[in-house]
Symmetry: C2
Subunit: 139 residues, 2 copies
């Protein structure tokens, strides 16, 4: 399993600040690389999840693109099967699709999260991913 | 100096295809991570430059964001000083700004290039960066 400090040291971007648990299960960190503005309409963040940590279910009105830079994790769209994602994977999440992403139980996950078309509105955060939902793949 | 094969092996994304020299000086490679479409309005490419390779001067109508993932290079906006860029740097290039980017003479440069607001129009390619312009910093 990747250790916190080792993964941090190898990483491209700073781990940043620990995210509050309002919209996340487990511990996750965010380093904003590009703040939202009306010039780029494209906030970008680097997100690090410890093993088993994950987002709540959520929706981006302008879509989202994930570039996985380290580790292994999961991505799921509501009503579809969980997909396993690894370093080097690109995940394209269309607008208005309810989804979650996070680390697998045996690895950290680090991804760059790109939110294009941010002028269409903020992230809509929904309910947590339950252990039952999470364990479908990992259990 | 980074060697071609070593850098390739370490890299996050595939090096992709060699770019034609219409808009580049020296050898550069492109791997498209996200193709342009009207869902994301945000094509994304991974670009690798050998030492001294660089783009022509060019303009993005919707702006561009560079995430430097390996090596060392240069970024310059027309009429301003050249900036040195390294792994981990984020470069925000506003819309309609004439600029170029590329590797330093002693290192490869690899960056993710994000083109938000692509509905505003294609890249406008201009003249090559001359050796005189390039050597201002490296000579």
């Amino acid at each position: 399993m990747d250790k916190l400090n080792n993964l941090s040291e190898r990483e491209l971007f700073p781990k940043g600040v620990k995210l509050p648990n309002d919209h996340f299960t487990g511990r996750a960190w965010l380093s904003m690389l590009v703040e939202d503005d009306r010039i780029f309409n494209c906030p970008i963040g680097n997100v690090s999840f410890e093993p088993s940590a994950r987002t709540n279910w959520h929706i981006h009105q302008g879509g989202q693109i994930l570039l996985v830079t380290a580790g292994k994790g999961y991505y799921q769209e509501k009503g579809k099967k969980v997909q396993v994602i690894h370093k080097g994977d690109v995940v394209k999440i269309p607008s208005s699709v309810n989804h979650w992403h996070g680390a697998s139980p045996d690895s950290w996950l680090v991804h760059i999260a790109i939110m294009p078309n941010s002028q269409k509105g903020p992230v809509e955060w929904l309910e947590p991913v339950t252990n039952e939902e999470y364990n479908v793949i990992s259990g």
